[in-house]
């Protein structure tokens, strides 16, 4: 018997029981829709984390001193003075996988301009900093290497600082401000970046030559960190290893000893944050998957009832020449049609609710094609799996008993 005829028969049975079919489908619809919506939310949050971190410079590498022991007392990381300027020079000279590199020191303090003041942080860096962090200037220019060498009292400020110490809308470039009573000449304003994913205001900064910050503000000669950018995002892990090796040599760390520093790439940061959201996604999808399973059981239940209810019809079909395999296929196709139609409606509902979530709840979402494909395959498999048993039962009926069944 031709498959097309069986399709027609199965389709007819579905159409004749519209309400029941729809109710049966509901389980599948909700299951598929939630799988798609959950995956979209998970993918969305993962992507938003990735984009914010990338905006901070995705090929950025950070070197910080490790926590260590001094006189038997475990020390806080920032208290360690193991990172020196000569480490910076060593890395700059030896590492060939880096394009830009800058030492960094930072401290907090008050930015003062006349009667206006604002608490902010000062970052002491060299002229590579803007390129590593991928920050542009709104106005003015970056300080030069010569200004770094002479520890010139020049600074660049972020928009938040501008808003607070220049409330009248004056042009800040060329003006003098004081940071912890040290006068600085403003030579540039950073482009606005807004808050990052972690709620940190990236515009609340003062940037000055590291020499100036070291000598005039912090009075230290060690570095708090070294930041660099790898030649590409893919090369970042290799660059991390390279920098580690250079530093181990610099710090004369023997093979069995642990590093007294940390080198991290942004990639690691991304995967750390992504893994959290991934866990959540898996959890959500598991819940959605369970509802899909329950939907499948619903199909089996209805198909089972349908076989019982149509025993006489099955007997007749066999009497007029329907083979066992024809009956099996008829019910199997019916189950698959229900689950696939449910799948299609589920995808539509899932996409609809994703749009709703994005528009009205303002959650980032991203529909992955694979989630649609997976739900579809799962639907078809559900139909076959849960339709098989009732269909098998129908096909195994004895036509004589089936015909006499009341």
């Amino acid at each position: 018997m031709r498959l097309l005829n069986l399709f027609k028969i199965a389709f007819k049975a579905i159409v004749l029981n519209k309400t029941r079919t729809l109710l049966t489908m509901l389980g599948i619809i909700i299951g598929v829709a939630s799988v798609i919506a959950m995956l979209a939310i998970g993918e969305g949050s993962k992507e938003s984390i990735r984009t914010t971190i990338s905006a901070m410079g995705s090929n950025m590498i950070t070197v910080r001193p490790g926590s260590g022991v001094r006189g038997g007392v475990k020390q806080e990381r920032s208290a360690m003075e193991t990172l020196k300027l000569k480490d910076y020079y060593a890395i700059k000279e030896q590492a060939d996988l880096l394009t830009y590199i800058t030492p960094m020191v930072n401290g907090g303090g008050q930015v003062i301009n006349g009667s206006n003041n604002w608490p902010s942080s000062i970052y002491g860096v060299n002229s590579d900093y803007l390129k590593i962090k991928i920050v542009d200037l709104q106005s003015g220019s970056m300080f030069t290497d010569a200004e770094v060498k002479t520890a010139a009292k020049v600074a660049l400020i972020g928009q938040t600082v501008v808003d607070n110490v220049f409330p009248d809308g004056q042009e800040p470039v060329g003006q003098m401000i004081r940071f912890n009573n040290i006068p600085f000449k403003i030579i540039g304003v950073l482009e606005e970046k807004g808050e990052n994913t972690f709620g940190q205001d990236q515009d609340d900064v003062v940037i000055a030559p590291y020499t100036t910050v070291q000598k005039r503000i912090l009075a230290i000669d060690h570095l708090e960190s070294i930041i660099a950018s790898a030649i590409s995002e893919d090369k970042a892990p290799e660059a991390v290893t390279q920098v580690s090796e250079i530093l181990r040599k610099q710090h004369k760390i023997t093979e069995n000893d642990e590093d007294d520093f940390h080198v991290r790439s942004m990639e690691e940061l991304i995967s750390t944050f992504s893994s959290t959201s991934e866990m959540l996604t898996i959890l959500l999808v598991a819940v959605a998957g369970i509802s899909l399973l329950i939907g499948g059981i619903g199909i089996m239940n209805i198909m089972y009832v349908s076989v019982k209810e149509r025993t006489k019809e099955i007997g007749l079909r066999m009497a007029v020449g329907g083979k066992g395999s024809d009956i099996l296929m008829q019910f199997l196709i019916e189950a698959i049609l229900i689950s696939i139609t449910g799948g299609v409606l589920g995808v539509i509902l899932g996409l609809g609710s994703t749009v709703f979530i994005e528009k009205f709840l303002n959650w980032p979402t991203s529909v992955a094609l694979y989630s649609i494909i997976i739900s579809f395959v799962v639907c078809a498999v559900t139909g076959i799996f849960f339709g098989w048993y009732p269909a098998r039962k129908a096909a195994a009926l004895d036509p004589i008993t089936a015909l006499r069944y009341e």
Partner: protein, 247 residues
Amino acid sequence: MSKEIIKIDDLKREFTMGTETVHALRGISFSIKEGEFVTIMGSSGSGKSTLLNILGCLDQPTSGTYIIDGEKVKSLSKNELAKIRNEKIGFIFQSYNLLARTSAIENVELPLLYNSKVSTEERRSRAIKALEMVGLADRMDHTPSELSGGQQQRVAIARALVNNPVMILADEATGNLDTRTSYEIMSLFQELNKQGITITFVTHEPDIATFSSRTIVLKDGHIIQDYKNHKVQSAADELAKLPKQDD
């Protein structure tokens, strides 16, 4: 001498019910020729349902031979039996067994759906022809619930005719109908028989047998009578004799 449609020889059918063996058919032999109108009679328990199931290829005999249209049924698989039912036999049941909420024409088309040799267009035209033969051409799109009992049985007869079977097998086909309607159905059967269609009619009503050309009477698994009816009554005449009804 016309061709033998059915040839049965020493047919036995036993059922095992727990530890007991029930002999439903204890070795019967007969044959049916093309164009015959045979009634198989017998009270309940006589084995006529068992015989009907075997004749209809729904069941296999325990021993003996059954040949339908030249094919030995004994050696056939389930699927081959289904094929024989599909191509050689037209079933008519007491309770019509039409598919509910399905139009008359689609009900008639049903056997052809299971025959891959018949195209969609041919299926439709043959179903229309069969419905015309039973006088229901104007009711093609009605569902069973919109038809009377007699009309439903006519649809069932059309369904039995649609695959051009070698034999129509009717099981108490008038059992659910009143006298007038059953005479109408019987006269339809007689008409079809006149056109050369072989009919085997299983019943327990003696007056139905008077419309057929031959009667086989079963009792306790044996054939106790097998006689030709030389004075076949016309169901149409009987119908005319019935008191007029105000419809």
